[in-house]
Structures are given as C-alpha cells and as structure tokens.
Symmetry: C2
Subunit: 300 residues, 2 copies
C-alpha cells in the first residue's frame, strides 16, 4: 500500500469532482466545481488544476489520478482507449503520465459490436471501484447518466458494454420537442406514472411511437402534466431495459446519482430484478484501486 | 357532381397549401405559404384566409374545404376528431361549417391502443384521396413527416393507425444532440450509409443505443460526416419499420414529399416490400372526394 495521500479527480464534460484520499482509501475531503472540460481553454488545464488542487498536492510525494473526459481528444492529454476485455491490470497498464510521478490520467474503454465502436471515459473507474466495494467479480454494471453504460463483468474483467443515450433523449424530448409544451419538468417522480410508462414501452411499438403517447395523453386530459414527465421517463428507461437479458445477467449493480438509480431500481423491480446501488464512492474506490499496487489488501 | 369549383386548403402547423379544383377534380392552380397556424394570431384566421384566397372564392357558390391543424384547438374552429374505423362517409358527416355554405373544415381521426389515444389531422384526407387515386380499398398507408402515420385500411375504412415521431427525432438528434457536432446535415442522401443504418437498427439493441453509433463511427473515423446523416436516418426509419408486420399488410402506399418517400421506399425494398408513392395530389383528391356527393364518378 502506498504511504502518500491520493488526489482522485473525475473530470467530466460539464463538471469536475475531486476527493483527497488517505493511503487506505478513506475519503478526507471532497470538492466539486462546474469546471468541466468544455469550460477549459486549450492549454488551460494545468492552470485550472493548480488553482483547484494546489493545497491538496502540497505534501511531498502526493499523486493525482484523473479519470473522465479530461483524457479525451478535447481534454488535457489524450489517453487512448483500452480495448475490452479489460480489468484493473489492463487499465492500470495504460495510465498516461501528465506530470511524471505527480499527475496521471486513466484511459477509457472501447468495445465494438458489428463494426460499430462503443466508448466510455470515467465509467470504467466506477466499475472497477464498484467491484472492490461489492466484492463482485461477475454481473451487469449499469451507469445511468446522459449516456448510460451497461457493462458485463466476468471474472473481474469488463468483457463488453453498450451505451444508451437515454438521458440525452429525455433532455431533448422534454426541452426541445412538441412534448415540452405539455410536460411539467419541475415535477418530481410519480412512481405510478413512471411504471405505467415502463409497462407501455413493452408493447412492441418502439420509442418513436410510445413517446407520442406523452402528447396524446395530455391532449385528451388522460394524465396531468405533473405525471407526464415520469411517464416519459418510464417509456425511455423501459425501452432501454427491453434490450437486456436481465434474468441471465446475474447480479445487477447500479452506479450513479440517487435520483437516477432510484428510477432504474423501480423499473428493474417491475421486471423482478433486484439491484445493488452505489454512488460517487465508486469513483474514489476505483481510482484508489488503480493507484494502490495491491488493491485487494485495501481496508474498509 | 358539384358544378362549382372547390378551393381545397391544407392548413398545417407551419405551412399552408391551397389548390383551386375544377368540379371534376382537376387542379387549376396551386399556392403555398409559410402561414401555418402557429403564425396566425387568435381571431386572425378569417383575415389570413381572405387575403390569400379572396380571388379564388369570388365566383358565386364557390366552396372551400380545409384540412389539417386549422381544425385543432389552436386553429380556426375546432373540429372534434372522428373515431376509427372511419371512411369517406364518416369523415364527411363530421365536417364543421366555418361560414355555412362557403367555408368548412374537415375533422381529424382518433384511435386508441391500450388506453393511449392517437391522433391525426390532415393525413386522413390524404389517405381518402390515395384510395381514390389508387383504387385501393385495403392496405397499409404510410405518411412520412414530422409525426409519421401508419394507417391500416380495410374495405375503404381506416380501421386504425399509429403515429411515429421519426421526423421530429431526426431533427432533435441532428440539431440539438451530441451527434449534431459531427453530422453534416447539408449532405444529400447516401443510399449505402442509409441502408447500413436500416440494417443496424434490426440488431435488437434499440434506438437509444444505435443512435450513439453515429457518434462513435465518427469518433473512430469509420464513416465520413457527409454519410452520417444518412446512417442516422436509416437507424430511425429502420426502427420504425421494425414495429410493422409488413408482409401481412398487403399493399403499401407511401404518401408524402419525394425526399421522404424515397427513403421509405428504399428501406421497404430492403425488407422485400414494394410500395406505391403519391405526393400532394392525394390531399386535393381527398378534399375533392369529401366535397363531391359521389366521388366514385370522378373523372381523371
């Protein structure tokens, strides 16, 4: 086990989160900022980093490990994707140095289906962390977000994954489509309407048809505006679940914000599938595992 | 057969088209304007109508029949939906007078599946017109557009239909999503890329996953930007076709603009289904059939 603290950073497209970790992985302090890579000028990453993390980096020998879009073409330093199947050792061997011995960046993963590539950046660290936190080395790891990832894990390796644009479709439909006129996007989750959408999504007619139901249910006053957003969310998440062989998947682990994982847990329950849930702690556990020479000796 | 000319108007959300028809249905003159109902102030429909059509309406006894969103709640006069099954007689019996004996408006159709309503306004006239023009009284009538309609016709009656938001999803994805950054929306149809999208859509992974392929194919330089729009279009139209029992449908009739019907014809051909194609003439034939006491005596 390393004897210095680790500065763990998840630097995404629209936001940045950091955690200062003890050598054994315990979280000392966390911070988050609206400083995603889209807000950083070309060549400006070092300055932003030093402004935010100079205090944490001060003690001699402190290392920083960064995951997420900061490793993309538009980021600080491009860290080429690591191809599936990939586990802790494969990802660790592809870590790129930004300032050798001080700041490093974790590569994303890529996979290919029928000649079409798929990619993730940042989620691989959450999956590796979730494996440590749950002691699971097999299962289906689901990471809801703007671009959701469904990853299959076998014997501690991510064997393959697929992206679903569910979060982005929800934003597009509720903000820019004809549905936006009748949805009350300020309304919280209505579980019954959400599950009605999940059920409806299984009618074989597809998303392009079922989304229109959120319009006509409003037109005929069959559902109040405050329930329609939940119904639409159920249509989308149900559509995503339909593509999965859930009962053959083994354990299902949900990793994400409570607002999102709650919806997936409900939709999975409706299919008779139970899921474990993790939050941001998975990121810190993953970066710590990549940093520590032997993560299996990590103490909780 | 009526002895006066008919002013046939298709007044939609974003545009308005009109045709002056001889008593036998022949088109004398056509006009179109960007004066959809969204551009008309509350109470302003009479003025817009008289400005555009006063010349055509001048001869004593001239009648005008309007279809489309002008009959909606946000339109000139609300014409309540006619429930399926509905044919020429049912739609005609629900025509509403705006100025009795002078200007009338055609109702839309509604249908319900599993408690979720579906609606069309304007397309019912195109379907009725297509039946006249093709002499078909049975088949699957497909109307591509922002909100596509797939209508089943049996013995001259629309027995049911479904809406697909394919056109709107295409606009949302190509203008507002992450895909918009790498798509060249000015590019014309690339048939090979389009058909590759149609094939890909049938992989059982759904639109939420397959749309992301338009991102990753670009990220890995596997498809040039000018082909990606066609690929995405193929993913969407293929997704729509997947929900249909095409081989059990009988004759398929496509009604719409050539740019859209061409794509559906290609996608249907790839499934071994041939389709007839009609354009705006279907609207005029439909309004004429609704106007003429005995449309079967119409001369070509």
């Amino acid at each position: 086990m390393s004897h210095t603290r680790l500065v763990a950073v998840d630097w995404g497209t629209s936001s940045l989160r950091g955690a200062l970790l003890e050598p054994d992985g315990r979280i000392v302090e966390e911070q988050s900022h609206p400083r995603g890579i889209l807000t950083v000028k070309h060549g400006g990453f070092t300055d932003v980093f030093e402004t935010l993390f100079a205090d944490w980096m001060r003690p001699q020998g402190t290392r920083c490990l960064i995951s997420g879009m900061a490793g993309s073409k538009q980021g600080w330093v491009e860290a080429p994707y690591c191809a599936c199947p990939a586990g802790l050792a494969e990802v660790r061997s592809r870590i790129m140095e930004i300032e050798p011995g001080r700041i490093s960046i974790v590569p994303g993963l890529c996979d290919t289906h029928d000649g079409v590539p798929d990619v993730m950046r940042g989620e691989e660290v959450q999956i590796l962390g979730a494996m440590v936190l749950t002691n699971l080395r097999d299962g289906l790891f689901v990471l809801p977000g703007t671009h959701n990832k469904w990853a299959r894990v076998k014997n501690g390796m991510v064997t393959g994954f697929r992206t679903f644009m569910t979060g982005e479709f929800y934003a597009l439909l509720s903000q820019h489509s004809i549905l936006s006129r009748t949805l009350d996007t300020s309304a919280g989750l209505d579980e019954a309407a959400f599950l009605q959408g999940v059920t409806q999504s299984d009618n074989g007619q597809g998303l392009l048809h079922n989304a229109f139901g959120a319009r006509t249910l409003s037109l005929f006053d069959r559902m109040p505006a405050r329930e329609l957003t939940s119904y639409l969310s159920g249509i989308l998440i149900g559509e995503e679940l339909r593509t999965q062989s859930l009962h053959a998947a083994g354990e299902v682990v949900l990793i994400g914000t409570p607002a999102l994982t709650q919806r997936y847990r409900l939709a999975l329950q409706a299919s008779g599938v139970r899921a474990r849930t993790l939050g941001s702690e998975a990121t810190w556990a993953g970066l710590h595992a990549l940093h520590a020479p032997n993560p299996t000796q990590r103490k909780q």
